[in-house]
Amino acid sequence: MTFVTLVGWMAAATADPEPVGRLAQMLPSEVHGWKPTEADGLYDADNLYDYIDGGAEVYRSFNVRGVRARRYAKPGEEDLIADLFDMGTPQDAFGAYHHDMREGIDPGVGQESEQTEGALSFWKGQYFVALLALDETDAARLALLALGRAIADAIPEEGAPPALLRFLPKADLVRSQVHYFHDHLCLNLHYFLADENLLKLDRTTEGLLARYVWGKAGQPKAPGCVLVLARYPDADHARQAHHRFMQVYLPDADANGMARTEDGRWAGARLRKDLFIGVFDAPSNRDVERMFGEVDRAAVRATPAAPSKGDSDHEPQDKRRDTS
């Protein structure tokens, strides 16, 4: 064991052996000549602000349990930074990963990944991993890929993404812009609805925000709409949220729950048992109705086998892990 590795291990053991201590075992002690240069940074939900400033609130909203941050250095090269987030559940690891738009290439690391010139991010199981190169050399890019693969290999099991994904209509979906959330704060970051928590979102709820573009094949895509799904612990909670939303946001809604908003577009909301369905920025009321119908059909397909967490559409049954 090198001195550096020992220091990192001691820091983990002293500060909080679980869960961040476990994360140490997932980080290699060397990759393509890059080696750790200092003790790992260890953070939990309470002190994550010390490390990533404003961004900490995002990961706190996804119930982050612990973070281990390791800086790797190599003579003649800029440093690499590896951040391992233990999010507690695969669903929240998915949420942390999809907080950002994911329009880059997927190099096949973990369950979903994205590599850009100076960064590699992925999620696997309950872990979200963000790797950053402070320069964009070929050597750094290859090292990031090797580092990512080593970490992914060290994560023993995959996990299921949110079951709510099965309620999303797939046609015209902008796959790089699907965002999972629990609370009002995160929803508002992606799509500002209101200062007030109209949808009564909290840690017991889960939601998806997805963007759609419509257009015929071969023609430029036009903006389509924004779909917001929110699932509540029970139908009563959903009904209360829907009621407040309609009171404040769509008081002028017609009998179908739709209204033309001040920008000339259409918004509408429906309730389906414990599920709130909101459609925003649609070109017409027919488009809103169509989205309602598509969500309904997806929900019917999803409901018979839908577990409360974890999406069986996305991973084979034998790959899912029980996170309860």
Binding site: E117, A119, S121, V248, E262
Partner: protein, 297 residues
């Protein structure tokens, strides 16, 4: 019948001119060419030699850029004169810098500012330089004047890290300003430790970050060597000008008007709600000095 809510909704924004902010832009263009009302001057100075091949700032170039900007902003041919007009031996000056690890205010620029302050007669031991510690730093507690200097970059919560945002560490609960993309950041400037004290604003545009991703909201790929400084007395006008440069860069990079992930409407709101300065580009006199290649605005 509609029910009241404490705060605003998206539809409230759409109802007002600020709707443009929610469409994904800063809404700065929504004013059109209305030039009535208060005006502000901003100086953009650029130098091809401001960064070396590795991206390290040149102390010599930064001093020259700062001096040129100050002389253009306040007049005169002597670099020391503007500083003597703004500060004196009785002042205690806090230089509010920014030490974000990925894109900090260059130390060479901090040194250049400090040098000119000392030349203007401010005792060196009454010049504070701080970022996270401003609330407990005695020099900031006693400050009669502030200088606000930071790099511009896109930001998790505020859309952009701006001069307006740079004062958030003066508040004991910074997170309370995060609501609606930090819309009310200009309210910070009402804090007793800040109000009426800022005499100079310098927005560092040497290698701005025009797009951010990931936990740190930083990838070098989304920076570029613009090699500029924006200088002015109106923080809103300087921020609005910096924002226009980022928007222009994003347009070129993405090939289309790509909305900021988080709307930087706090700059516009600083004018509309707080009347702190001028965000409307039509009422900002922009003076451009030095290197003009790919100036973008």
């Amino acid at each position: 019948m509609s029910h009241k809510t404490n705060g605003v909704t998206r539809r409230d924004f759409l109802r007002n001119a600020a709707g443009a902010t929610l469409a994904g832009t800063a809404g700065l263009s929504a004013w059109g060419q209305d030039t009535s009302g208060t005006k502000a001057k901003v100086v953009l100075v650029r130098d091809a030699g401001a960064l070396d091949a590795d991206g390290a700032p040149s102390a010599e170039a930064l001093q020259r850029m700062l001096d040129d900007a100050m002389m253009d902003l306040f007049g005169g041919a002597d670099p020391a004169a503007p500083w003597k007009g703004l500060f004196n031996a009785d002042d205690t000056v806090g230089i509010k810098t920014n030490v974000w690890r990925f894109l900090r205010t260059p130390k060479a620029l901090e040194a250049a500012i400090k040098r000119r302050l000392v030349e203007a007669g401010v005792p060196e031991d009454r010049i504070g330089l701080d970022d996270p510690g401003v609330r407990t730093n005695p020099l900031f507690q006693q400050a009669t004047a502030l200088i606000n200097v930071r790099p511009m970059h896109t930001h998790h919560w505020a859309g952009v890290g701006s001069l307006l945002k740079n004062y958030i560490t003066f508040h004991d609960k910074p997170y309370t300003w995060h609501k609606d993309a930090c819309a009310n950041l200009a309210g910070l400037w009402e804090l007793p430790s800040i109000k009426g004290k800022t005499r100079l604003n310098v927005l560092v545009m040497l290698s701005p970050l025009f797009h951010g991703k990931g936990p740190h909201h930083f990838q070098k790929k989304y920076t570029w060597p613009y090699k500029g400084l924006l200088v002015g007395t109106d923080p809103v006008a300087v921020d609005a000008t910096g924002l226009r440069i980022l928007e222009a860069k994003r347009l070129g990079f993405f090939g289309e008007q790509q909305p900021f992930a988080v709307s930087p409407h706090h700059i516009r709101i600083a004018e509309e709600k707080f009347h702190l300065g001028v965000a409307n580009p039509a009422r900002i006199e922009l003076s451009k000095l030095g290197w003009m290649e790919d100036v973008l605005i």
